[in-house]
């Protein structure tokens, strides 16, 4: 393994450049290296909660999406042990919510599902939690099905940082954490969210869906029928699939 130069890090033996202020995730994505991630989207403030991007940096566990890149870092990413860890974490996300993939509108376009395939996850492994979570269908064009929420807070951040609104938040503690809507009634209809908002499209699972666009793309031609999650530059494709012809 070569000694890292200034402003390069080593990921799985490969030397890649970074610029000041980039995280390991930023540097990896720029070099077309896939580090599995769910709560991270380029352009939004890093969150560090799902822990799917767990890597080992000089032997220590770290979140690639939040740790600033620094020269001298030797990062293990695509290893058997880390795949096992990430698979377990993905299973944990599946069992804590209610994911009935075959009947979910998002199937095939769902990042959680794609990550699970990527990691060779065959089942939830752990006993299901079967939480009771509310559906909010109050909004005329957006439905919120909390059963599938993985608490990634992408919608929370998108609304605040990009849409300039503050529509979503997480409340509660521990396994009782849940997504809430910032209005006196707690209903989506009483917020200023619209289908033009990034927050309406960014959900990596099927928790936030646009009404009246169900199953427009037939199964077999959906995002992850045509692509694998590890493909470089897929973020815009994933996002576009969440939108529909009559939206911008």
């Amino acid at each position: 393994m070569s000694e890292a130069n200034n402003n390069t890090i080593i990921i799985d033996g490969k030397e890649i450049p970074f610029t000041e202020g980039q995280t390991i995730m930023d540097a990896a994505l720029a070099a077309d290296i896939y580090i599995p991630h769910l709560c991270h989207r380029p352009g939004l403030k890093p969150h560090g909660s799902c822990k799917l991007c767990t890597v080992e940096v000089n032997g220590r566990s770290a979140s690639a999406c939040t740790l600033p890149a620094a020269s001298g870092q030797e990062v293990s990413n695509n290893t058997e042990a880390l795949t096992e860890v990430r698979k377990t974490i993905t299973q944990m996300l599946f069992v804590e919510g209610n994911h009935f993939c075959p009947s979910c509108e998002k199937t095939g376009d769902c990042t959680l599902q794609a990550v699970a395939y990527h990691l060779d996850m065959l089942d939830g492994h752990f006993p299901q939690f079967y939480p009771k979570r509310e559906v909010d269908a109050s909004h005329e064009s957006i439905v919120l099905d909390r059963d599938r929420c993985i608490m990634c807070e992408l919608c929370v951040r998108a609304s605040r940082e990009v849409d300039g609104k503050d529509v979503f938040a997480i409340t509660g503690r521990g396994v009782d954490a849940k997504l809430i809507v910032n209005s006196a009634s707690g209903k989506l209809a009483d917020t200023d969210i619209t289908t033009d908002d990034l927050a309406a499209h960014i959900c990596p699972v099927g928790a936030i869906l646009i009404k009246e666009h169900g199953y427009e793309t037939p199964i077999g031609r959906r995002t992850f029928d045509l692509h694998t999650i590890a493909e470089p530059g897929l973020e815009p494709v994933i996002l576009r699939k969440g939108k529909h012809a009559d939206e911008h």
Binding site: R160, A169, I180
Partner: protein
Amino acid sequence: MHSNNGPDNNAGSPAQQGGDNHLLHRLYELQQQFQHIPKQAISDLATELNLPISQVESVVDFYSFFHRTARGRYDILFSNCTSCGDMAMMHKLCERLSVTPGETRADGVVSIAETSCIGMCDQGPALLVNGRTLTHLTNRRLEQIAEQVDAGTPVADWPVEWFRVHDNVRKNGLLLSTGFEAGSGLLSAIHQGPEELLEEIVKSGLRGRGGAGFSTGMKWKFCRAATGDAHYVICNADEGEPGTFKDRILLNSHAHEVFEGMTLCGYIIGAQKGYLYLRGEYRYLLPELQAVLKRRHKAKLLGENILGQQGFNFDIEIIMGAGAYICGEESALIESMEQKRGIPRVLPPFPVTKGFLDQPTVVNNVETLAAAAQIAVHGSDWFKGHGSDKSAGSKILSISGDCTTPGAYEYAFGVSIQRILDDCGAEDVQAVQVGGPSGTLIAPDEFERKLGFEDLATGGSFMIYGKDSDLLAVVQNFAHFFAHESCGFCTPCRVGTTLLRNGLDKIVRGHGTQYDVDEMFRMATLVKRRSHCGLGQTAPNPILDALKRFPGIFESRLVNSEFEPHFDLDAALEEARQISHRDDAEAHLV
């Protein structure tokens, strides 16, 4: 360090941070008034404090002492700590008052539930009634409490001796035996100047007493060097680690030392404002602490131009927590001070450069600050003359569990576990939990190990389990504690602590197999290595330690089959039984 937790600009103004208008304080008032936080009050408060409704709502839901549905006019919380808790007593009182545990009686008069350790481990069993601490419970006292509730006597009129909390200092060491004259540390500081005093603190070798053991002098140095609009000092008095109560004693009997330590820190790092974050369970200490602050103002030890020194301005406010262990973690504590859920931030940057309101901030434990005040008076050599090479000075231990004299014991670092056990009258000891559930569980063949950062580090909790105690039940208790206290931010800890808890419950119920034990080990290792903050990284310790040192406590409970399903069909029928008001043999599967 950045917040994971709400818009950056909604921390409120600095003026809002202390005093009556802090969100946590306002919610406490509402909870007292209505026994819950009414929905309308959430919107009103959000408007008044200019915060998003979702922020107020999420704070209500995060802290254990706020409720969306009404608690009783007598809201009784039994500690569920292995030292100051007694669940049998809770059930007894529930039966006597016809209350379902965790619920409010239909007439709205009384509710009874459990809560995490309330720091009365040397004088339990203990409970909180409407937030007031009641110690030394006996069966007779339970009956008397029930009578007061039946009679409708306001808690304020209950006999005062029920609420007495003793210091129980059993062994004085370096800090507790050295007297302290209010102002003496500040005089010495002014005499030396900030640079020289800082060097003394660095030289003393003082390391943080809150657990992590970072050099206090270096922390202050980094913060002093950091640039910002303002600097802040925070005293961490959250003391939530089960089995820990030494800060309670320092705050009760050595408050001047603590406040003086904060003021000295402010002098050195250039802060004009300090906050004491006090756990909600210690609310009973609040009036006296505020009285001490007033006296210090009068004596010119706080306020403007302290001791006549031009430009030496420092003030202290107290912020009350509301039942959340995670708020002892320094960045979660800062989030809580900023009127948000206590979610640990992403580090780095650390609080010394970006802390409270994103400004350079020192967070120190109560005992650390008290020690700093003493070092200012007596110098670094005095302090370094005690303890061991890497662990200068002394440590105040909170000793509880199976021993004749629980209480506070102060030792120079380097003392052996056996010596401590001898001093507190502990015999036939099966195990000691050093440093609380997040610390280390040790067996008798390790009792010659020594206290100190180089061997057994501890924030002060020292829980003793005698030969008759059920260690598996202890490990189970801790697993429940962590699952309850996980903040829920990161997946490994949010889901993992619950999986660990369920796994242990299954084994304790007698349904566990070797497969379950192996799975628990795998999960414990993952949670420990991959969690976001210190809570998740230490939560599996009791399980991992017990598997290593006491494998027999698991093995003896296992069933022989290789696999037993997690799903408990009978338990699943509970809801149906409740709906149909049946609990007869026919309504059960076993």
